[in-house]
Every structure is written in C-alpha cells, then in structure tokens.
C-alpha cells in the first residue's frame, strides 16, 4: 500500500499537556501529553471506552477538562466563551453519526456557519460550499436534504461542511463506524485526499488500512492513557506493549 507523503512541519498545531479529566469519580483521561504538528496525520485507536472520543472532544471544548492545558494554534483553552469560539473556528470536526442539520439543504448546511459566524457574503459562501461539495463528489445533491441521502453521502457532506470554515485541523471521531461496509471506502477516499493536500488530521478510527496509508503516527489508548505511539510501520509490526499486541490481535484477527 503506497503511503502518503509526509508534509508535517515543526509548528505545533495542538498541544495537550498533562491533560486530566474526570466524570464524577471516574478518571477518564490520565496525564495525556500529545503534540500534533502542522500537517501531521495522527490515527488514534484503542478499545471502546478508553477515552478516545473524550480526548479529541476536549480539543474543541465539547468536553471540559479539569487539569492540564489544551493549546490550539498557540491559544490556550479557557472557559471564556469568546476564546472557545475563536478556537473552534480553527478546528473542524466530523462525528460518527454525521449530525447534519436535517431542516437545511446540503448547501445550507455548508453555508450556515460561514454566513452567520464568519459573515461571508452568501454568494461567496455558496461558491466555497459548491467547491468543497465538488471535492467530496456530491455537488449534484447540493439541493437535497440530509434525509434524502445515504450514510456515506451524508458523511461526505459533513466533511465538506467542516471544510467550509477553512479549519487548520480536522478531528474525526470514528467517521466510518456507523456506515454500511460498501460506503466506508467512499468516505475514506475523501479523507485520504484531504491528507494528501496536507490537512492536519486527528482521526479516531479502527480502519487500519487507512492508518497504514496516511498516518504519520498511530496512537494506542487504553483506560484513559496513551499506552504507545509510533510510526505505522513500527506500530503494526513491532508493538511494544502487551496491551497493544492484544488489541491489534483482536482487531486484525490474528
């Protein structure tokens, strides 16, 4: 499998420093340290309930951390509403269940935030939206409603909707796990293309083929901790931790 050319630089895009989070008594994230450089593609895997979603949702403050620092593009996350919204403008997110707005057409889904938040002229927002919809190969459905599209099509629209805000980094939380097998490829293809264009990506997924193709680093999480991180080659062929080995054994079926 041919791998995507690395384009990462030394500029840190996301820094998580001794990040800790609790749900009541339950310690979900324990001392997470992670730096994502501009242009880097990172795949995160790990058993269900290990805190993968919680970690990436702390990056755009969908979840609040209790200790440590989240720094995005040099801005430290606080509770301040203005600052949170400022950080979110740099961070796109794609969800497992798409979360498109069902009352808006595909095009309006893509234009809502550019028009209302960035005050982009609508005509320009439409042009941008059509450009991205073209790139995810769904421009011909622009005037349909999400309920009229298949899961794979909806997820591609969701990716285009995020891109319309011109994010510096994209977060993906299991973008293909709610899809029927025959639709997974169309979404992964879009993500691979995005990686080839040099987008900084943080992707929770169990699609190991995708990880081998695009990831600069693969991270394994268990029980709220980062257990192991390595380049895909080393990660898959010579996992260090027994927990990683057990997990890979399960997921790759050997």
């Amino acid at each position: 499998m041919g791998s995507v050319q690395t384009t990462s630089s030394d500029i840190p895009m996301i820094e998580l420093q001794r990040l800790n989070k609790w749900y009541g008594e339950f310690h979900v994230l324990r001392d997470i340290d992670l730096t994502v450089r501009k242009g880097e593609r990172i795949v995160i895997c790990g058993p269900s309930g290990s805190g993968k979603s919680t970690m990436i949702r702390c990056i755009n403050h969908l979840e609040e951390h209790q200790a440590g620092d989240v720094i995005v593009n040099g801005i430290t996350m606080t509770r301040d509403v203005k600052r949170v919204e400022q950080i979110r403008r740099h961070v796109g997110m794609v969800f497992q269940h798409f979360n498109l707005f069902p009352h808006l057409s595909v095009l309006d889904n893509c234009c809502l935030s550019p028009v209302w938040v960035k005050k982009t002229p609508r005509k320009k927002a439409v042009d941008t939206a059509m450009m991205y919809l073209e790139r995810v190969k769904i421009a011909d459905q622009a005037h349909k409603y999400p309920g009229q599209l298949s899961g794979g099509q909806q997820q591609r629209v969701a990716i285009a909707r995020s891109l319309c805000m011109h994010p510096d980094v994209m977060l993906f939380d299991e973008p293909t796990s709610a899809l029927d097998p025959e639709m997974i490829k169309e979404v992964l293809d879009v993500m691979i293309e995005l990686a080839e264009e040099g987008m900084t990506m943080l992707c929770v997924t169990h699609e190991m083929g995708f990880a081998r193709t695009v990831a600069d680093r693969v991270i394994f999480m268990d029980e709220g901790q980062i257990i192991e991180e390595n380049d895909p080659e080393t990660f898959f062929n010579h996992p260090r931790s027994p927990r990683t080995r057990a997990f890979l054994g399960q997921i790759l079926g050997h």
Binding site: M93, F101, H103, L112, S113, P121, S162, M165
Partner: protein, 396 residues
C-alpha cells in the same frame, strides 16, 4: 414495471362476506345509515315536542328585538338591537378574549418552557413550580380565583392603584386613557403605513446586501427609525392632533377613557396562565426532542448559543411543537366559554344564555353556537396545518 404486490389477488377468493374490504365497506354504510336515522329521529322528535308546546322554529327570531343589555359591546348595541346582533356581539367577545389569550399564552409559554431548560438553577426551578402549580388546578377554580380573590378585591375606585394618574386599576376594572384622533391625525397614520412599507423594503434590500457583501446594515436602528420615528415626526409637525380621554373619578366610579371589565381581565389572565403552563411543557419537550448531536455539531462549527438556538434547535423543535400547540389553542378557545361562570359576555353567556332564555328555540341556538366553535376549531387547525406543512422535514 414490477410491483411486489401485483401478484397478490386484489380480493380474497371465496364468497363476498369473506373479503375484509367488502365487509368493512358494508359496516361503514350500515353505521352511516344508523347514525342518520338516530339524528333524524332526534330532530323529528324535538320538532314535534316544540310544536306541541307552541314554540316557534326556524331562524326568524334573529330579526326580533332583543331588549336586554350587555356589559361589553365591541360594536354598537342598544335596547332596539336584534337577537342576531347579540349573536355577533357574543361572538366578537369570544374572539377578543381568545385572541388576547392565545397571544399571551404563547409568549408566557415559550418563556417558561425555555426557562425550564436554563442552566440557572433558580430560574429552572421557578419555571417548574409554575408549570406544576397552574396545570394541576382546575381552570374554573383559577378563573374564580383571579376574579373574586384578586380583581374584585382590589380597592374601591377612590383608592385605585394608579400609574401616573393615567391608568387606574380597581375592583371595577382597568381604566386606561382612550385616544381621540383630531383632524389631521390621518397624516400620522399615513406616515406609519409609509414607514412600515419602507422598513419592509429596507429589510429586503438588507437581505440582498448581506447575500452580496456579507455585511448587514444596522437594522436594529433603521427599522425603529422608519416605523416609529417617521410617524412621530409627522405627528409633532402636524401639531399633535391626538387628544387623550383620560379616565377621571366622578362620584363613585371612573368615567371617560377605556374600561377593561374585571370579568375580561380575570378571564384573560386565567386562560393565559393556565394554557401557558401546557405550552411551556410542549416547548420544553420539543426542544429536548432535538438530538444532542445537533447542538454539538453547531458548537463545533463555532455557532454561538443564541444562533444555535434560533437556527438549529428551534426550527427542528417546531415540528414537534406546532401540532400540540394547535390543540392548546383550540382548548383555550373552547375553555373561554367558562366565561359564563363570572359573567363575561361571551357567545355562550350571551347567545346560548340570555338569548336562549328569552327565545326558547334551543335547537337553533345550540346548533348555531356549536357551529361557531366547530368552524373556529377547523380554521385554527387549517392555519396551523399550513404552517406545519411549510416547516415539515424533507425525507426520502
């Protein structure tokens, strides 16, 4: 083209009575015939009884002189007016309290419903108490409470609660100044119309401008300036041609100005507060029916909370809210007939009450009264259905 059910026989084989569709049709026809006979029998029987007692039938009585007085008349009415006029007066009074109630109940209901979901603990608890309190006490009791315990127990006119010696509230009702337009006031009205049209055109221009350039004009200033500023200027320039008839204490009561009867006030407050409690629950459950993922997606797109509410949550919640709102509006209209209990002259109190007592033609009068509520209900349902169809989601 292949259709999956083409291969199935249209009708089950065997005798006709084995066919469910035919059987259902026969039952429905029988039911219809039965129903028609019962109604026919009832009408025939009643007419015969009325005839035997020497009571007139038909709608001729509507042209007869009524000769009784009504405490609130929105159109002119005197001792020489007809029974037909009492019908119109009752109907207008019902429409007045219903319209006032629907507006107030909607505003209070939305406010309380959104407050119930507020992260502010005190506000949310207060809203909960409101809902539980007012929807669990019988409406009739609440009407009597507002009428007897609150409004009728206000001080006598001499000790009225007053607002700047213009508005007075006492046990006899609410007294507000009545506007009396003088010659030339017409220009201000025209200015108001012109200003409103200009504001509408500006708003449209602004939408196009936003589409083109992304910038919005400061409409928060422009619209009030056009709609209010322009007529006020014309009004002042034309020499303030409007006088106020301020209510004044004459003897034991106020005269002049506009009087809102204590009965209307009590009925309006009770209907609004009671119905608002149900609307609040509908609004709350409507908002909660929108999946959490929608808020998260909006946040991830850096939409601020107010925009998230207005652009994402409310439009989706409306699909759940509207059909249930329809039935609350219908309830309010029908509940307004409890007016009889405190003597507010609504359709039931006036027409199905006093008029019926005097005329005695119960079949005609009851039929007319019921027809009014039926038509009102169908009208409201129709309007709400049109609105609902326009906001419906498009699925595949």
């Amino acid at each position: 083209m292949l259709r999956p059910f083409d291969s199935l026989p249209r009708r089950g084989r065997g005798p006709l009575w084995r066919d469910p569709a035919a059987r259902a049709l026969v039952f429905q026809v029988l039911l219809l015939i039965g129903l028609a006979s019962v109604i026919g029998l009832l009408v025939h029987n009643t007419l015969q009884n009325l005839d035997a007692r020497g009571i007139n039938t038909g709608f001729d009585f509507l042209d007869n002189r009524a000769g009784f007085s009504i405490s609130q008349t929105l159109i002119s009415y005197d001792g020489n007016s007809t029974y037909g006029r009492t019908f119109v007066i009752g109907l207008l009074n019902t429409l007045l309290v219903s319209a006032l109630g629907i507006v107030a109940a909607t505003i209070i209901g939305f406010t309380v419903g959104i407050a119930r979901l507020s992260p502010n603990y005190l506000l949310a608890k207060l809203a909960t108490v409101y809902v539980e309190l007012f929807r669990n006490i019988p409406l009739l009791l609440q009407i009597l409470f507002w009428y007897i315990a609150v409004i009728r127990s206000m001080p006598s006119p001499r000790q009225s609660l007053s607002l700047g010696d213009m508005v007075f509230l006492n046990g006899r009702g609410l007294f507000v100044p009545a506007p009396e337009p003088q010659t030339g006031f017409w220009f201000s009205v025209a200015a108001l119309l012109a200003g409103s049209v200009a504001a509408m055109l500006m708003a449209r221009h602004n939408r196009q401008r936003q589409s083109r350039t992304g910038r919005r004009l400061p409409m928060g200033w422009i619209i009030p300036a056009l709609v209010l500023g322009l007529p006020v200027m014309v009004f002042l320039v034309s020499g303030s041609p409007l006088q106020w008839d301020v209510p004044a204490l004459k003897g034991f009561n106020f005269s002049g100005g506009l009087t809102v009867l204590p009965e209307l006030l009590a009925l309006w407050i009770a209907l609004s507060i009671y119905t608002a409690a149900f609307i609040a629950e509908i609004v709350r459950s409507g908002i909660q029916s929108v999946p959490k993922g929608q808020t998260e997606a909006a946040r991830a797109l850096s939409l601020p909370p107010r925009l998230t509410m207005n652009q994402v949550i409310i439009p989706q919640a409306m699909r759940v809210i509207i059909p249930q709102m329809t039935s609350q509006y219908l309830n309010l209209i029908k509940n307004s007939s409890l007016a009889t209990a405190i003597g507010y002259p609504d359709l039931v109190a006036v027409f199905a009450g006093t008029t019926l007592n005097q005329v005695g033609q119960s079949v005609e009068i009851m039929a007319m009264t019921m027809a009014v509520y039926l038509v009102l209900s169908l009208l409201v349902s129709l309007l709400m259905n049109i609105y609902n169809a326009r906001t419906a989601l498009r699925e595949r």
